[in-house]
Symmetry: C2
Subunit: 364 residues, 2 copies
């Protein structure tokens, strides 16, 4: 089947670009002796997780229990759930998964640790734990080394848990190179103090897990980090390019859309909106635009309705007609893929494969 | 089952509030002799579409062919697809649906009309057409009465199509009452000119379809409008309240979430983010916030990660703990429901029913 025969909106992935992205990250990790544990929330497709493992990943990262379950059923047996699992139903489910595979979770509170321990103990399972550090993003994570050590010491007393180390998410690194160097210095200070206090306490850290896609290729510069968890690098997107973590040529994923209306002057309306792309903002510059039209960079993806993409074509030399097809690189691939039950792998103008986004839409 | 036993994040609908919303809209339409054709994109659930029909709706509106198909299979036989159907696969599919039910589409171009006519003719089907007017929102629609008439006259020459009238979407009415009166005057001017030119040409308009939720309760003030297509009114949301189209007590839908981290001072992190709520902005005031925490209005839903809601709790007097449950009214119900495979109908503290969001995730 040809790409031009796909009904729109259709999410397509250029396999050549994707394969290059996978190799490059694997190679960087090999060179810097980093364990690679890709975050599969970006694709939610077991077959792609397996390709990541085949290209050198040690295991995978997921965001939810439901994702872990799908990946485990597909035969993946080393999974980090980078999310605090809270609540009895969830922890019970977690403990059951831990009977079948090596499962770790990230958390930052005694409440979460004790909840998971109870379930694990009941089930006779053992669950790995990374404690999350807040390195400046201000979402989850403890902000100083003493709190990290105190929680780790509590965890070592809980029989259902195995303390494995530390984890952080540098979600605030989407800034210019100079500012990044300053931020990295701050993170390194925190890392050094933490590693030191754990060493003095005689508590070994087998894992110090850092970097997502934005910092992945500078992971070698973070003190003590021996594992990375990039997700978006498999596809990349407009925001990844905006923060210099990829170039446009590294963007493997786009959404093919069709122009359905040109009745309003200066506008072309396409058949993909917020229910196709989600509605993530552009993280750089003036924050404008919800995607990049590959065939015509003079076009701005100005806003989304649910099923309409509003293209501003005022600065374009092209005359748009109902029925024209365009491909748009989204601001954020993870939330875009999550809107679809199926996406397509393509090579040249041929559709080579269809993947089910099997782990999307999971409640837990 | 109790609401408190649902695993989070869970989308719940207060049935008492929903039923009141349905009755009130049906009653308004009866009083003003308006046909009610609810837009089911807001829920995508056949059972709710049937309840809308049972409470007085004449038929339904959908945004996509896939939604039409789901609703048709559930026994609903009068469907407006308020979207230009473009492309051969889609028009063929449309013509097949039109063999089984009364199907209309909205469009604004000769290209779209001819494409649909070809498929209908091949299939021996007849498809109703509303021509879309651009009344100021600037998305789809023709902007003057002469263009409307020209397109209508072309449509009357196409044997597979049946010209039924005009349609508009006043998506720009989310403003204060004074500005709304001015906007309404402009729309009424365009409506008057259009009705007049069609009458002079001897082309009857059986349908003039207006109003969505924001303007529904002023539909009686639009010249010549005899049908409305509100969608959100069944649930309402933070944006509907912001533009005075509903009160907080009319918000039937919320998302139950659990606090998973309080490690960062002034923050409580909950287990619902952009993959639970989507990422629609607040349309009023300073545009801040991604939802309203029902139990504590001092809290701001400051941002979303994919699976994290970042609550700013600095101004709250409550002390948040891991495991606490909260319910959040989303900015936009339509895109929130679309993220979920199932949602719950509740009454008091009891879960009364589970609905499958059957028409979500449709490609076409």
């Amino acid at each position: 089947m040809l790409i031009s025969e796909l009904e729109t909106p259709a999410v397509i992935v250029d396999l050549n670009v994707m394969e290059r992205n996978l190799s490059r990250m694997a190679e960087y990790c090999r060179q810097h002796q980093l364990l690679l544990r890709p975050h599969t929330k970006s694709h939610k497709i077991p077959e792609l997780a397996k390709r990541q493992i085949a290209s050198g990943a040690t295991g995978i990262t997921v965001a939810k229990l439901g994702e872990a379950e799908v990946m485990l059923n597909a035969g993946i047996t080393d999974i980090l759930i980078a999310y605090p699992i809270v609540g009895e139903e969830k922890t019970t489910h977690l403990a059951k998964l831990a009977e079948q595979a090596s499962i770790s979770v990230a958390l930052d509170s005694e409440e979460a640790a004790r909840g998971i321990n109870s379930a694990a103990t009941r089930q006779g399972a053992r669950i790995g734990v990374l404690i999350e550090m807040n390195v400046g993003f201000g979402r989850c994570g403890l902000g100083n080394e003493n709190d990290l050590l105190t929680l780790a010491q509590t965890i070592t007393t809980l029989p259902g848990l195995e303390f494995r180390g530390l984890m952080f998410f540098p979600g605030h690194f989407g800034v210019g190179p100079e500012q990044r160097a300053t931020l990295r210095m701050q993170v390194n200070g925190f890392l050094e103090r933490s590693l030191e206090i754990f060493e003095r306490a005689g508590l070994p850290l087998s894992i110090v897990s850092g970097g997502s896609t934005p910092t992945a290729y500078e992971s070698g510069l973070f003190h003590g980090v021996n594992e990375v968890r990039p997700g978006m690098y498999i596809f990349n997107d407009r925001n990844t390019v905006a923060i210099d973590a990829a170039s446009l040529e590294d963007c493997a994923l786009s959404v093919v859309v069709t122009v359905v209306s040109t009745a309003v002057s200066g506008r072309a309306i396409v058949d993909g909106g917020s229910k196709t792309f989600s509605y993530d903002r552009y993280q750089a510059g003036d924050g404008r635009g919800y995607g990049l039209v590959k065939e015509d960079t003079a076009v701005e993806v100005e806003r989304f309705s649910e099923e309409h993409g509003h293209l501003n074509v005022e600065r374009s030399e092209r005359r748009y007609r109902v029925g024209d097809r365009l491909s748009i690189i989204p601001n954020h691939v993870c939330t875009t893929v999550n809107m679809h039950d199926e996406i397509y792998g393509v090579r040249g103008d041929q559709v080579e494969t269809v993947w089910r986004v099997e782990a999307r839409g999971k409640v837990r």
